[in-house]
Structures are given as structure tokens and as C-alpha cells.
Amino acid sequence: MEQTIPDKKINIKGLVCPYTFVKAKLAIESMEVGQILEILLDYEEASRSIPKSMEDHGQKVLKVEKVSDTDWVLQIRKDKD
């Protein structure tokens, strides 16, 4: 599988909606177009809602991966400022 090196990583384990998306969105806002954000989370619903919301906001979801019993890793590329 292709490995992408993220430009920024955030750990939002322990957070629930909507703060999961709030944190992810603030992180994306602080980045440049073309950069990649990696998000580590353990709230299952957010593993579906963050990718959906990010796409609604014009960003590109590169990866949604369950990495352990409790954790997911998402990679989002900032396409829109």
C-alpha cells in the first residue's frame, strides 16, 4: 500500500462529535492547500462523519483505516482554502 507522509498529525482520541470535526477543521484551516493532515481518533462515528464533512467542505479524503480495535487513522488532503 502506498504510504503518504502527512504534513501535520493530530490526535483526537477521547473526543466525541462535534469536537472531533471542530479539531480536524481547525487543523486543516491552519494548513496550506496541497498539504496532508493525518488524524488519529477512537470515536467510531467520527471515522465516518469526518471524511463526509471534509468532502462536503471540498477537501480530499485519502485514507480511512482502522488501525486497532479502537483506533482509526484518516488522511485528508487540503484542496480548498
Binding site: P18, V22, K25, L26, E29
Partner: protein, 266 residues
């Protein structure tokens, strides 16, 4: 801007909106809004702008809270009867959101103080209840080049418009001069449905937030009229009057005017 955890929670529903985001919320936090009147309109405008996290909100009003205000002036309460309205509202707003710096000015606004008072603010909201003040505020905002969101209420009807400096009509393009005293009844004489200022003040607060964010369309060159009995909204286009005495090509009004008292203050 770095948000505290409390702020992230408080403003989360703003931050997740594409049109606001963290950057928009930071703009709101930096904004300074000047509200004229702490009555029917000033209360909901100030209340919602406080909830939204506007950094500095000034309120000017010379009156004290009376029992008859409580039917519509939602920032006041039986506990604050007799207190200056601006102090009563400041107490309420600070209890809602300690992030906001509320500046309470217990004064009557006049041609001698208005320019100095509004100088440091980004946006002016007129929630006054009388024509002399409405014209004074319109003229001062034109001269000081401040965006103005003006509202008016009577009985079951209300109006809102947004006046931008050097862009579109001013209030005098619409009505050149105030009506003579006594012609238009005041709320005190005619009554007002208590919830009406909530609708109109809510619209004014919305206009302010859009101006701060630079998003959407504001009521520039348009007068929005609401009829609560019929539940109708009507938008009327207001052209700029080329011979407006204030903003026209050959203005006759070049300094501020305090119109005769004789108008009833609500």
C-alpha cells in the same frame, strides 16, 4: 487565534460552518460593534452578538429599566428594575459570555458626542426608538464612514436595512427628513407586540455577523419589511437618491443635526 477548550465547545457550531470556521470565529472575536439603545431592539441584538462571541459590544442608552419594558426588552428583569438599562444588559450579557467586553454608556446620544463614541467601532447598530436619533445616527455613520444596520418596530410591523459607507443609499435617500413630531405614533402611544423586536433584532444581528464575516448578501439598497400579523416579509429596493441632502452630489447637510425634542422617547 488559539481557542481554549471552552471556546471550542462554545463556538463549535460556528466553527463547523464552512462560511465561518476558526478564521471567521476569530474575526467575530476581533469585531467591535456599537449598539444604540438597550431597549426592544438593542437587547436581542446585543444578546445574540454576545452569544456569537463579538469581542467588544458597546451599548448606549440613558434610560433605566421599568416594569413596562419587560414585555419585550429581554436583557432586563424584575431584578434590574430601576437600574440603568445599559448596566442591566451588561450584567445579562456577561453572564452569557465572559469572552465579550461589554461597554455600558449611560448617556443620551447627541450630535456633540456621537462621532467620538463610534470612532473606534467597526459597525453601528441602530436600535433607537425615535426619529431624531435615527437621522442623527444615519448622518453620523455617513460622515464617519461606518456601516450601519438600522431597525424599526411599531405595533405588528418592523423594518431592517443595512447602509454601507459610500456604497448604495443612506436612510435619507429613503426618507429625506424626519416626519413632524406627532405625525407618527411612538410605541408608547401605539403599542408593539413584545416578540416583534426579537424578530427584527435577530435580523439586525444576522446582518452584523455577515458584515463581520464578509459572507452572504446584506440588505444594502433594500428595506426588509416584516408584518407579524400577516406573517409576510417584503423586500423593497431602495435606489440611491442622486439629490439626497446627505449623500447626494450637492449635499445640503454637512454637519450633524439634533432635531427638536418633542418626539416621545419610548
Amino acid at each position: 487565534m488559539d481557542f481554549t477548550d471552552d471556546q471550542l465547545m462554545r463556538y463549535s457550531r460556528h466553527i463547523i460552518l464552512p462560511e465561518v470556521g476558526g478564521k471567521g470565529q476569530a474575526k467575530i472575536a476581533k469585531a467591535k460593534v456599537f449598539i444604540i439603545g438597550a431597549g426592544g431592539l438593542g437587547c436581542p441584538v446585543g444578546y445574540y452578538l454576545t452569544a456569537a462571541g463579538v469581542g467588544t459590544i458597546a451599548l448606549i442608552d440613558n434610560d433605566t429599566v421599568e416594569m413596562s419594558n419587560l414585555q419585550r426588552q429581554i436583557a432586563h428583569s424584575v431584578q434590574t428594575i430601576g437600574m440603568p438599562k445599559v448596566e442591566s444588559a451588561k450584567k445579562t450579557f456577561e453572564a452569557l459570555n465572559p469572552d465579550v467586553n461589554v461597554v455600558a454608556i449611560q448617556k443620551r446620544i447627541s450630535k456633540d458626542n456621537i462621532i467620538d463614541l463610534i470612532r473606534d467601532y467597526d459597525i453601528v447598530v441602530d436600535g433607537s426608538d425615535n426619529f431624531p436619533t435615527r437621522y442623527l445616527v444615519n448622518d453620523a455613520c455617513f460622515m464617519a464612514r461606518k456601516p450601519l444596520v438600522t431597525g424599526a418596530i411599531l405595533r405588528f410591523e418592523g423594518q431592517v436595512t443595512t447602509i454601507l459607507p459610500g456604497d448604495g443609499p443612506c436612510y435619507r435617500c429613503l426618507f429625506e427628513e424626519p416626519p413632524p413630531p406627532g405625525l407618527v405614533p411612538s410605541c408608547q402611544e401605539a403599542g408593539v407586540l413584545g416578540v416583534l423586536p426579537g424578530v427584527i433584532g435577530g435580523l439586525q444581528a444576522t446582518e452584523v455577523l455577515k458584515l463581520i464575516l464578509g459572507k452572504g448578501d446584506v440588505l444594502k439598497g433594500e428595506l426588509l419589511m416584516y408584518n407579524a400579523l400577516k406573517t409576510t416579509f417584503r423586500k423593497v429596493r431602495v435606489p440611491k437618491n442622486p439629490s439626497c441632502p446627505l449623500c447626494g452630489a450637492k449635499p445640503s447637510i454637512t454637519e450633524l443635526i439634533d432635531y427638536n425634542e418633542g418626539y416621545c422617547a419610548m
